[in-house]
Symmetry: C2
Subunit: 350 residues, 2 copies
C-alpha cells in the first residue's frame, strides 16, 4: 500500500511535463543539492559521500536544502547513479582527485555471468526510505524527482572501472563483444527499471534518467548501445513522468521526441529553436543555461534567463541548467537564476 502524503501545493513541474497550461515555467537545477551550498559543505566535512547517500535522514536533509535556500520548484533526491552498480555487486568508492572507482570492473565476457539482477528493495532500501522521508518533510511544497543513471552510462563505469575522457575501454568492449555488451546493458536496464519503479512506489513524483556519456557515441552506436535501453525504461517505468537526459546527443532529438518520455533535458550547445524543431511538440524540453554562465553578473543572469524563456516559450518547458551546477557558483547567483524565472510572468504582462 502506498503511503499517503500531503497534497501538492506547487504542481508547476508536473503540469509542464503533462503539457498542461502554466503561467510561468517551473525551475530547478541539476546538482542543486551540492557543493556550491555552504550548508551542504558542512555535512560533506562530517560524513563520507556514501554515508550521505545511505543515511535517509542526511539524504533528505541535503535534498531539502535548495528548496529552503534558493526556492526551486522541484526537489531532486540526493543520491548517486552508481548505487545501482553497488546493488549489482560492484565495489565502488569515491577516490579524492579521481572520482568514482570500480574495484572489480568487467574486463572479460565471463565477468558478466557472475552478475545477477538484485532485489532493489533489499539492496537499495535506504534510497526508498530517503524518498519517503523527504516526501514527508516536503509536506507538499514541491514535487520530488527520483533518478537513475542510464544503462549506457552505468555500463561505461562497470567496464572502464573509473571516469574517462573517452571511455574507449567501454567502447572497445561494445565494438569487439557486442552481444556480451548487450547482455550486460539488459541486466542494468532491468535493474534500473525495478529501481525506478520502487522509487515511484516510495513516493517519487517524477523521474530523470541521466545518460551522461551518451554524447561520446556516434549516432549509430547511440542507436545500438544507448537508445534501446532508454526506450525500454520509458516503456516499463509506470505511474510518473520521465525526463531523459542523454547529454550531447542532439543528433537523436527527432527520435527522442517520439520516445514516449514526457521530458527531454538538453545541454547548452543547442539553441531552443533547433531543439523544438527537431523534437516536435509532444515532449517537454528542459534546460539549457550554460552552468558557467552563472558566473556572470546577477543582472546578466536575469536578462539571459528571460531571453531563454522567451525563446523556449512558457509552455512545455522546464527551466534548468544544461548540466550540473558548478561548485564555485555564488549562492546568490543561483538564487538570481530561480528568481528570474519567478519574475518572468510579470515581465511578460508589462
Amino acid at each position: 500500500m502506498k503511503t499517503e502524503f500531503a497534497p501538492l501545493k506547487n504542481d508547476l513541474l508536473l503540469k509542464a511535463l503533462k503539457g498542461e497550461k502554466v503561467n510561468r515555467p517551473p525551475v530547478w537545477m541539476m546538482r542543486q543539492a551540492g557543493r556550491y551550498l555552504p550548508e551542504y559543505r558542512k555535512l560533506q566535512s562530517k560524513y563520507s559521500f556514501f554515508e550521505r547517500c545511505e543515511t535517509p535522514e542526511l539524504a533528505a536533509e541535503i535534498t531539502m536544502q535548495p528548496i529552503d535556500i534558493i526556492g526551486t520548484d522541484a526537489a531532486i533526491l540526493f543520491s548517486d547513479i552508481l548505487v545501482v552498480a553497488q546493488a549489482l555487486g560492484f565495489d565502488v568508492t569515491i577516490e579524492k582527485g579521481i572520482g568514482p572507482v570500480i574495484h572489480n570492473p568487467v574486463t572479460k565476457v565471463k565477468d558478466i555471468d557472475r552478475i545477477t539482477i538484485p532485489d532493489v528493495y533489499d539492496k537499495l532500501h535506504y534510497v526508498m526510505k530517503a524518498i519517503a522521508l523527504t516526501r514527508k518533510e516536503l509536506n507538499g511544497r514541491v514535487p520530488l524527482i527520483g533518478f537513475a543513471g542510464a544503462p549506457w552510462t552505468i555500463f561505461c563505469y562497470l567496464v572502464e572501472g573509473h571516469g574517462s575522457k573517452t571511455f574507449s575501454g567501454a567502447k572497445k568492449f561494445c565494438f569487439t563483444q557486442p552481444e556480451a555488451a548487450k547482455k550486460l546493458l539488459n541486466i542494468i536496464a532491468e535493474t534500473t527499471i525495478a529501481y525506478l519503479n520502487a522509487q515511484v512506489e516510495a513516493g517519487a513524483q517524477a523521474l530523470q534518467v541521466f545518460d551522461s556519456w551518451s554524447g561520446l557515441l556516434a549516432p549509430e552506436d547511440f542507436n545500438e548501445f544507448s537508445f534501446p535501453y532508454l526506450k525500454r525504461i520509458v516503456k516499463e517505468v509506470m505511474g510518473v513522468p520521465v525526463i531523459l537526459f542523454p547529454k550531447s546527443s542532439w543528433y537523436a532529438f527527432e527520435e527522442l521526441g517520439k520516445s514516449g518520455a514526457e521530458g527531454l533535458s538538453i545541454d547548452w550547445t543547442v539553441t531552443p529553436e533547433f531543439a523544438r524543431k527537431a523534437c516536435g511538440n509532444e515532449i517537454t524540453l528542459q534546460g539549457n543555461y550554460d552552468p558557467s554562465h552563472l558566473l556572470s553578473p546577477v543582472t546578466t543572469i536575469k536578462m539571459e534567463v528571460h531571453e531563454m524563456i522567451r525563446r523556449f516559450g512558457v509552455q512545455r518547458y522546464i527551466v534548468n541548467l544544461g548540466h550540473g551546477i558548478l561548485p564555485d557558483i555564488p549562492v546568490d547567483h543561483a538564487r538570481a537564476f530561480v528568481d528570474a524565472v519567478k519574475s518572468y510572468e510579470e515581465v511578460k504582462t508589462v
Copy 2:
C-alpha cells in the same frame, strides 16, 4: 625567397581541398605522429616533450614516422598548439598526469597589458626550421600540413592555467570582462596569423586550426568569443588552404561552410548527411571516424571506412578520425584504416 622543394607526387589532399576531382579521397589521421607508434615512444623515452618540439631534427623525424609506417596521404608537423603561448611569454610545462600547465596565467585584466605580439620568426624559429627540414626529407612524397591552436582554445589555457572539463575560469573571464577577453583574443589571433604565414613561407602546404574547446561554448558565445577569430585567420593567412576544426561546434556548420575556409574537420557525433547538408557544397569535409572504433577488429574497420566514404562521397572529402588517434590503438589497426581508403577505388569499380 622561398626555398625550392621537390615537386609533389601525391597531391590528393590539395586537390580535395581545392574541390578538384579525385579517384579516391586522401587520408591522414590527427595525432598520426604519436604515442601509438613504438618508434615514437622510443624518442619519447629519450627526450622531453618540448625537446622533441624544439629540435628540428627530432620534430622532422617524428613527422615522417607515420608516412613510412602507415602510409598516410599527408604529413602533419609534430609540434604543440601551446608553443604560441610560450611565444607570448607564458611559462608552459607538461606535468605528468596533469597535462599542460601555464605557470603565469592571466588572472586579471592588467595581466593582458604585459603581453606584446612577439616576432614569431625569432621565438618560434625552430618550428620553421622543422618545416623546411621535413619538406626536404619528404622529397615530395606527400604534402606537409602546418597547424596552430585557435585563439579561443589558446585563451582557455592562458586564463585557466591548465586543462579543465569546463574551462569555467576562462569562461568567467569572458562573461565578466568581455572587452578585456577580446583584447587578449585579438593578440592571440594576430600572433597566430603571423605564425601560420611564417609556416607557409617555411614550406607548409596546408594548415589546420584546432579549436579543441569551441564545443564548450553555447552558440551565441561561439559567435562572440571563437568564430570571429577563426574568420580573421582564414582571411589573413595567405597562400595555402586552411582546414578549421572547431570540435563539437556542429551548431555553427552553416556559417562555417561560408567562412572561406577550404576544409572543415568534424567529429564523429555528426552524420555525413547532416554535415554536408548544413555546410553546403563549397567546403571540403574532413573526418570523422570515432577514434575508439579503431579498437574494432580489422575487418570491421575496413567495412566501416568504406561505408563512411560511401556516405560522405569521394569528392570534397578527406578521410580522417573525428579526433586524435588514441595511444592504445594497435599499429596494424591504424594501417588498416589507411589501407581501407586506398582500396576504396577498387571496391567502387567492382
